[in-house]
């Protein structure tokens, strides 16, 4: 069987700063993964729907507006509701240190803050896929 790692990269909420999301999408592509990029200004509903339809292994969310404490857990909740609780969630963007434990509790395996090298994200994914 020829199985590829499939990852959805999406931006929930209203900020349009998609450089980080595109940078990560590109890095994951170059690491041999299939990346579904959904673009900016997505509702949590739309992201969860797309993740289920695309049968991805991972969902990566990028957010710079400060609404992560609301939107990230909402994506996690909807994914679970739609039967995608086995999909691994990670996030990135301008996220204060003190918010990270709360997001992890909400189901996010990792949060990458500004300055993280792309290789760290690739390593995280490759490690996670081993445990599946």
């Amino acid at each position: 069987m020829d199985r590829k790692i499939r990852i959805l990269i999406g931006k929930p909420g209203l900020d349009g700063h998609d450089r980080g999301a595109k940078y990560i999408a590109r890095a994951l592509r170059d690491a041999g993964m299939e990346v579904i990029y959904t673009g900016i200004r997505q509702t949590p509903e739309a992201i969860a729907n797309a993740a289920v339809q695309e049968d991805v292994d991972f969902v990566g969310l990028s957010l710079l507006s400060g609404a992560h404490n609301h939107l990230f857990p909402e994506v996690a909740r909807l994914l679970k509701e739609k039967g995608g609780s086995d999909i691994v969630l990670f996030g990135g963007g301008v996220i204060p240190e003190e918010d990270i434990p709360g997001l992890k509790e909400a189901g996010f395996k990792a949060i990458f803050t500004p300055g993280t090298p792309a290789t760290e994200v690739v390593d995280f994914i490759e490690q996670e896929i081993q445990t599946r």
């Binding site: 041999g32 299939e34 673009g39 695309e54």
Partner: protein, 323 residues
């Protein structure tokens, strides 16, 4: 045991369980051992669901038009399936599948099922398993299923054999009229869509496309040419009317079942042929690399190996005659 599992999956597809359907699409795409049994159980060449291929050069507006067509069919209450193919990297094998960006209007609509596929090295504008993915979506009673190819050049014509109706998108500014006279992609559209109708050069494009089509002797064989702007939606109604008239022509029903069956069987002959040849080489040499090594050592040539494969098939035939 195996087949009851396959039946379970087939049932999930038919009842349009989103998670199950998505899983089956992955199984088909990855060549899962259960995939052939699931496809067998879903196979129905006389199904009513229509499949529409959308092809054209990169940036011609395929995703934007797909988005418009989804909008149109949703307004009419249809469940719409979409397969959007983008290229895999020839180096890393990875892919960036970005067609959903233009289809965001429908992202939260559960009656619209969009699946992105990487071509995984397959040539022809599609992936090797697009054909089967399309059957799966049709079996889940999505009607129509839209198949958007990668951006194509002059000869990626596979979509025409795969979809019931093929739309070829052209835009102004991509070359002179000799381009519209060439063989290949220009011959495959059931409907030719001249997109970006507001752009300069539209008149000229329309003239050269029409001039090239006039050379087709039988008027009924000439594809319709429709101007539209996928961006604004202008001309899209005319396009969907043309799709309806295409799909209701006299010989449609029988012809389409035959076309669907031919396509699937030809695909399977191609794949199994490749597998069989590979297996024979492995039996004889251990691996393809070792076969290459033998060739480099001067023990044989690629043509001799080819002869060996033909010889094997011939023996098979003779053995059968003896039986």
């Amino acid at each position: 045991m195996l087949s009851s599992k396959a039946d379970d999956f087939a049932h999930k597809v038919r009842s349009c369980d989103q998670r199950g359907l998505a899983r089956v699409l992955s199984m088909v795409e990855n060549g899962h051992p259960l995939a052939p049994s699931i496809l067998h159980s879903l196979y129905n060449p006389e199904r009513s669901g229509l499949t529409i291929g959308i092809t054209g050069p990169p940036g011609a507006g395929k995703s934007t038009l797909t988005n418009r067509l989804i909008m149109h069919y949703r307004r009419h209450g249809s469940k719409v399936g979409v397969i959007a193919v983008d290229p895999s990297s020839p180096f890393s094998g990875g892919a960036l599948l970005g067609d959903r960006v233009r289809m965001q209007d429908h992202a939260s609509d559960p009656e619209v099922f969009i699946r992105s596929m990487a071509n995984r090295g397959h040539l022809g504008g599609l992936s090797g398993t697009t054909r089967d993915a399309l059957e799966v979506l049709a079996a889940a009673s999505f009607d129509p299923v839209l198949v958007e190819t990668m951006g194509v050049g002059q000869a990626e014509v596979e979509i025409a054999s795969l979809a019931d109706i093929t739309l070829l998108l052209l835009v102004p500014g991509l070359g002179d009229e000799v381009q519209t006279m060439k063989a290949g992609i220009m011959e495959i559209g059931d409907i030719i869509v001249l997109n970006k109708a507001d752009r300069a050069g539209m008149e000229q494009l329309e003239m050269s496309v029409n001039a090239s089509l006039e050379l087709i002797p039988d008027q009924d064989d000439r594809p319709q040419v429709i101007r539209c702007s996928a961006q604004t939606g202008e001309g899209v109604e005319k396009l969907t009317d043309a799709i309806v008239s295409c799909a209701s022509s006299g010989t449609w029903g029988k012809a389409i079942a035959q076309k669907r069956t031919t396509l699937i069987l030809n695909g399977i002959i191609r794949e199994k042929g490749r597998e069989l040849a590979r297996k024979l080489i492995l039996d004889r040499y251990g691996s393809v690399e070792e076969a290459i090594e033998s060739i480099l050592e001067g023990k044989t040539t690629p043509y001799r190996i080819g002869e060996m494969l033909s010889g094997f098939l011939k023996n098979k035939r003779e053995n059968k005659n003896e039986c």
